[in-house]
């Protein structure tokens, strides 16, 4: 447990000092939202709130990919893997710390993105319920962070990793997003009894559990050579 805390502290310190990831993610989100807003047409938003909510999730997925591609960059570029791997600490602590750090970074970025989402997209006062959206984002971020930490470790020293990671990550993002989009879109009043938030949250919880277990169990194989 002490190893996990120290590794997480290290990741947060590196980001605080380097400020390399979160600022870039925030700028990316803003840029993407603007791009999407313009893409959907000037005054009247084609597809209304439903389209906007769906597209928010597209931006969320691509932003998280940005965070994952830079995971373990420090360890790779400065050859620090040998130090972590020769230490007796359990290697899934490395995975857990990386996942927690990514989860926090995604959270910070989305805390910025949500107000902007309101600003850019919602004109007619109808918006998805904040509670449902926040819960879905939290659970989705957790799943993305845990799966992402495993995949980032896997491609850490593989050629063309910047291209490979999104390709490996995308199939797993599809079921997650399809439920998250459905759930948040259905939470837009008037609620016509679409996918209940509980159903959606249940699925996201299942998703997180599966990739918590697989991430924890498989990380050992991913970092050893």
């Amino acid at each position: 447990m002490r190893a996990y805390r120290a590794l997480l502290r290290k990741d947060l310190l590196l980001e605080l000092r380097g400020r390399e990831l979160v600022p870039a993610m925030v700028v990316f989100v803003v840029g993407a939202l603007v791009l999407v807003r313009l893409g959907l047409g000037g005054e009247r938003l084609a597809g209304g709130t439903r389209a906007a909510t769906g597209l928010l999730w597209v931006v969320v997925v691509f932003t998280s990919m940005l965070a994952l591609v830079r995971s373990f960059a420090q360890e790779r570029e400065h050859g620090i893997w040998d130090g972590l791997l020769s230490a007796p600490a359990d290697r899934s602590a490395i995975w857990a710390a990386r996942a927690s750090a990514t989860f926090l970074f995604l959270g910070v970025t989305q805390a910025v993105a949500l107000p902007l989402f309101w600003l850019f997209f919602l004109q007619d006062g109808r918006s998805p319920s904040l509670a449902v959206l926040a819960a879905a984002l939290a659970l989705a971020d957790l799943g993305v962070a845990m799966l992402g930490a495993l995949l980032a470790g896997l491609v850490s020293n593989v050629r063309a990793r910047e291209v490979l990671l999104p390709v490996l990550f995308l199939p797993f993002a599809l079921p997650l997003v399809s439920v998250a989009v459905r759930m948040t879109v259905d939470s837009i009043p008037p609620q016509n009894g679409g996918l209940g938030a509980l159903h959606g949250l249940g699925f996201l919880a299942l998703y997180d559990t599966i990739f918590a277990l697989l991430g924890w169990a498989l990380f050992e194989y991913v970092v050893e050579d």
Binding site: A6, L7, L13, W81, D82, G83, L84, L85, S86, D225
Partner: protein, 212 residues
């Protein structure tokens, strides 16, 4: 020197390790008794670093058998890691973190008390530089930080990969002091074996992955 009942500090029988198609270590066999220091010599790419990384439980052997203190790798890797101090080509520290923060991280990974940090900083002659980011330290000072990191948990087996590179006279004296005071075994890859005169118990030359 070697007491028969205690398992050898390091034992390799026909250790083989490949990188893709290339054979980096080709059936290397060696034994280091407890308390003995073995020098690894040989040109670049002879396999010295690969051998050290296998012993440091970072690389898995592809064939043959490797055992540290009688524990067979890679099965018992977790058991032996607390006893191994590994200094690689790289100092294995985060440049953006200060020397002390790096040591705090490794102290947590090795489950070692924080007071040990000041001791190893002192040992490596870095006592004034604890708060400097590792990236701003000179090549030699970073090499000393790597040595300090490896000594944090008072390992019984030292694995040093060309530890003298980049060290100034004072640094070399401190390294000599550490080695002289070290009771356990050591495997040291070096291009200047003669510098270790008086400290070494044997040498093994590697050429193209084979014990020459």
């Amino acid at each position: 020197m070697s007491s028969p009942e205690r398992a050898p500090a390091v034992r390799c029988d026909g250790l083989t390790r490949r990188y893709g198609e290339r054979v980096a270590l080709d059936a290397v066999s060696l034994t280091v008794a407890p308390g003995e220091r073995l020098l690894l010599t040989g040109g670049n790419g002879a396999g010295k670093t690969t051998l050290l990384r296998v012993l440091a439980t970072v690389l898995r052997p592809h064939a043959g058998e490797v055992a540290i203190d009688g524990h067979v790798l890679p099965r018992d890797a977790r058991k032996v890691r607390p006893a191994i101090g590994y200094v690689g080509h790289e100092p294995l520290v985060y440049p953006a973190l200060t020397a002390r923060e790096n040591l705090e991280l490794y102290a947590a990974l090795y489950g070692v008390g924080r007071e040990r940090i000041e001791q190893v900083l002192e040992l490596a002659g870095l006592n004034g530089r604890g708060a400097d980011p590792a990236g701003e330290l000179s090549r030699g000072l970073r090499q000393r930080l790597g040595l300090a990191r490896a000594m944090l948990h008072s390992p019984s087996l030292l694995l040093l990969d060309e530890p003298t590179t980049g060290l100034d006279e004072d640094g070399r004296e401190r390294l000599r002091g550490v080695l002289a005071a070290h009771r356990g075994a050591a495997v040291i890859a070096t291009h200047e074996p003669d510098w270790f005169a008086g400290l070494e118990h044997g040498r093994l030359r590697l050429a193209a992955g084979k014990a020459a």
